[in-house]
Subunit: 163 residues, 2 copies
Amino acid sequence: MVDIRPFASADWPEVWAILEPVFRAGDTYSFPADIDEAEAYRVWIELPVATFVAVDPAGCVLGTYYLKANQAGPGAHVCNCGYVTGDRARGRGVASALCEHSQRQAVEHGFRAMQYNMVVSTNAGAVRLWQRHGFEIVGTLPGAFRHPGQGFVDAYVMYKTLA
Amino acid sequence: MVDIRPFASADWPEVWAILEPVFRAGDTYSFPADIDEAEAYRVWIELPVATFVAVDPAGCVLGTYYLKANQAGPGAHVCNCGYVTGDRARGRGVASALCEHSQRQAVEHGFRAMQYNMVVSTNAGAVRLWQRHGFEIVGTLPGAFRHPGQGFVDAYVMYKTLA
């Protein structure tokens, strides 16, 4: 029972409460671990084309994703998304629901493909999840991610043609 | 006889004269073909960590490149460069000189690897040139570049470990 709807300003405290520990951990996303709230708002809310939230029946935010063009000009038909789910979302299929929703949104926005630029190889659950949703590993970046516990680890470029 | 030195403000008219036709052509870089001069200045000069120019003995600008981190935080040890040479540079090894220079600069700035995110597959000369300088195609992005003459063509992710 998860509803996915556009982000509204009033959601920000809940969204930030979900994003902050993930950014601070520094083991999945290439945002600075010490990113401040204003910069997080800029990259997650302001820069993207659209941001969505998954909410439970009580209206609590379980997860969020952004959608944006991955490149400008001749590369602007390929989009990029970032997804984060909170602890309360575990085992409820929220990440899958966000991924499916984002692909539909991408097509509605006119994108023809979706690219993840840096899926950390040690984040095996995410890699499997994206593969299950039709994304392929199209490239491996050797040592491109500095993992806080494991040092320099590989990252994958994952890609799916949508239309 | 090519000298490579840091960009200085007075170089901008010459640099823009080299960049503009390349951006307008829209067949090699994922900048908007209609990018205006102020935005070009922002992406080529202001956003990067550093920008350099290659000049001939008379001081005329033959080419330019920028150097920047490709990602933030845990990805910030991998840099990205963009290179453009002018018509007067043809056959003089300017692109090679810029590539070599950029690798040394990258190491000096503490980067451990260099990544090109979108080398257009139809730009065969560039692909060969980067390969000759030790870059490998680590990924292929299907149809990720909308070529003005050839439609949706593949783009390569190229990568070189520097240190």
